[in-house]
């Protein structure tokens, strides 16, 4: 067995155990800072039967008012938080990053709910607060299709009341229920498959795509109905993704959508989340209850009770969902880091390459010179081979003057004559530029995005190359049988490529 082969084998045999251990540790640390053991899951209750004096409702109102009182510089400010979902103009950290029309629709919104719930819990000073859900489709109680009373009560200071909603559903007296065709769930719940091929909607939770996208289509069964239909029917802010999260009922609606994800899984019949690395390893960025930037991967949110410590009132046991064990450690640890923060001593820089890179509508190929000494190259290999260490490519100094409205697929070691393939060994992830917006001016160092590249680097080194490359290709979709790239509306620039070796536990930050 060659040295290279033995390293590969080592990776395969140790990676699964390492990633399993990492998953449990990281989520525990994420939830409570790693200082205490998780308590029994908290229960997100059905709003049915709650009154305005219910402690949950009281806390919800108090939390909303507290968020509204925060300065506009605080990411937890009510409007700023809603802008994470969408906003028609302006820019801010993580604004306009909601995911719709594809298989990350559900996990992105689960994360968005999670951090919102934690913010309300903290700002209302109600540790027992959990988000309630609105089950408008209750088959045993048609009155549940009516917007809950406390949201329709136009009392001065009622933080739950929003006048912009469609009147017939929002009026205090004689409100109309949401129509049965809007709140019907059987079509979605009947789908046996979580996702399906790009361009199709015959699935539970929308199509498979290569990279995150703010909006794309078609929408899958659950996203179509009840999700979209309830948004449009309630109308007003709810009917507009750029404003929807400003309406307090948004959070109960999405809590219900999140609950339906669990309910769908609980039906069995082969239903499961995608057992797919691309889906599982996707990372999204938010802010926690203290306003600090946080990020999570999808694999950290697939089991709500075990990983996020909540269940829905009355729900049955949900089958445990799994992600594929990784040959490599978890990816993308540093997305969203602004500027050139000091490197930890535990990080080891292997490659530091200043470059003037520009991402355009075409393919951008940037040389990544590896250290020339055999020892240094061996260091790269060692980084790949150590399950407790990650090999990370940092793309630094990213600046963009406006949203390019697309993302770039990133490859490491892609041969010059090879076709870019997100399913191939050289693909390391997709480079979004949400975070760079607004940071170019106030942060001259620009934005940093990081990718775990161990597997791709190992593939690149198979050829014993002393140099490799980083290749960027605009994300493409298939239209009429041809791969068509989404033409960026503007170019994106970056100034440095750095390859670092770092401990895996850094990825949870």
């Amino acid at each position: 067995m060659s040295r290279r082969t033995s390293r590969r084998q080592f990776l395969k045999t140790t990676g699964a155990a390492a990633s399993a251990a990492l998953l449990s540790n990281s989520v525990l640390q994420f939830l409570d800072g790693g200082t205490t053991a998780l308590a029994a899951p908290v229960v997100r209750r059905n709003i049915k039967g709650m009154t305005a004096s219910d402690p949950i409702i009281v806390a919800y109102k108090a939390g909303i008012n507290a968020m509204k009182a925060l300065p506009s510089t605080d990411a937890r400010n009510w409007t700023n938080w809603a802008n994470i979902h969408g906003v028609s103009s302006g820019s801010g950290p993580q604004w306009k990053t909601c995911q719709h029309g594809h298989w990350w629709f559900l996990p992105w919104h689960r994360m968005y709910l999670l951090f919102f719930e934690r913010i309300i819990r903290k700002l209302s000073n109600t540790p027992s607060f959990t988000l309630p859900y609105w089950n408008y489709s209750d088959p045993l109680d048609a009155t549940q299709a009516i917007l809950p009373l406390m949201f329709r009560t136009p009392t001065t200071g009622n933080a739950l009341y929003v006048s912009q909603r469609v009147t017939i559903y929002n009026r205090l007296l004689n409100p109309a229920p949401l129509p049965p065709s809007v709140i019907e769930t059987s079509t979605a719940m009947g789908k046996p498959n979580f996702t399906s091929a790009a361009g199709t909607s015959n699935n539970f939770a929308s199509q498979t795509v290569a990279a995150p996208s703010h909006f794309t289509s078609p929408h899958g069964a659950l996203e179509h109905g009840p999700h979209d239909l309830v948004h449009s029917t309630i109308g007003g802010w709810m009917g507009d993704p750029d404003l929807a999260a400003r309406d307090p009922i948004f959070w109960l609606h999405h809590c219900n959508i999140d609950r339906l994800w669990n309910a769908w899984l609980a039906q069995g019949g082969g239903r499961s989340d995608p057992n797919n690395l691309t889906w599982c390893n996707q990372r999204f960025n938010f802010f926690d209850e203290n306003g600090a930037p946080v990020s999570m991967t999808v694999r950290q949110v697939i089991n709500a009770a075990a990983q996020l410590n909540y269940v829905y009132e009355g729900e049955p046991a949900i089958p445990t969902q799994t992600c594929p064990p990784q040959i490599q450690p978890l990816p993308v640890p540093l997305t969203g880091v602004v500027g050139t923060e000091a490197f930890s001593l535990s990080r080891k820089t292997i490659v530091d390459h200043a470059v003037s890179g520009t991402l355009t509508a075409g393919r951008t190929r940037v040389a990544l010179p590896l250290p020339k000494t055999l020892n240094a190259r061996a260091s790269t290999m060692e980084a790949i081979a150590q399950p407790e260490r990650s090999l990370v490519l940092r793309i630094e100094g990213i600046t963009v003057d406006r949203s390019p409205d697309t993302a770039w697929e990133v490859y490491v070691g892609l041969p010059a004559d090879a076709k870019p393939d997100p399913a191939g060994p050289y693909f390391v992830g997709a480079l979004p530029t949400f975070g760079a917006l607004g940071h170019g001016a106030p942060h001259p160092g620009g934005f940093t995005v990081a990718f775990e590249i161990g597997a791709a680097m190992a593939a690149a080194l198979e050829g014993n190359a002393s140099n490799t490359n980083v290749t960027f290709v605009p994300v493409s979709t298939e239209v009429d049988g041809k791969r068509v790239s989404q033409t960026p509306k503007t170019n994106v620039h970056f100034t440095r490529l750095r390859v670092v070796e770092e401990p895996q536990e850094m990825q949870t930050q």
């Binding site: 719709h100 009147t167 129509p179 809007v182 079509t187 179509h224 948004h231």
Partner: protein, 146 residues
């Protein structure tokens, strides 16, 4: 003879699996405005193609919104009476204005009922009452199987 040839071509064209992973059973390419007034679109559908695996849906393509609707649109097949066969939401269309696609699942039974003994499927799009129907449009409607 011409009718026969056209019909044969139509059947072949409509039964082929499309590059977007769906099979087109009927198509109408025309810009259709939807808003306060009901819109009626007629598709020619090959009845035989309705039988087969996979779900059926009406695919609205090239959707754009010039004034955002504060309601949904009810999709009736055949006549505009009775319960709708499906419901169309334009939530999020503005995010990909002019390129958005929305699929409305429909049952084979509803289509066969609307077709009767013919091959023309009449699709009626009406704004659900209560909210502002706004102003929107689509450029192609397909009956698909996927």
């Amino acid at each position: 003879m011409r009718v026969f040839v056209l019909s044969a071509f139509f059947a072949i064209a409509c039964s082929a699996a499309g590059s977007d992973g769906v099979r087109t059973l009927g198509v109408r390419e025309k810009r259709i405005e939807i808003g306060a007034a009901p819109a009626t679109i007629t598709l020619r559908v090959d009845r035989a193609s309705l039988r087969g695996a996979g779900g059926l849906a009406l695919r609205f393509e090239g959707l754009s919104v010039s004034r955002r609707p504060d309601t949904t649109f009810r999709i009736h097949l055949g006549t505009s009476a009775g319960e709708p066969a499906g419901e169309l939401s334009l939530y999020g269309v503005e995010g990909e204005n002019g390129h958005a696609i929305r699929d409305v699942p429909v049952s084979a039974a509803a289509i066969e009922s609307a077709l009767g003994n013919g091959s023309s499927l009449r699709v009626v799009v009406t704004a659900a009452p209560g909210g502002d129907p706004g102003q929107a449009a689509f450029t192609r409607l397909r009956l698909i199987r996927q």
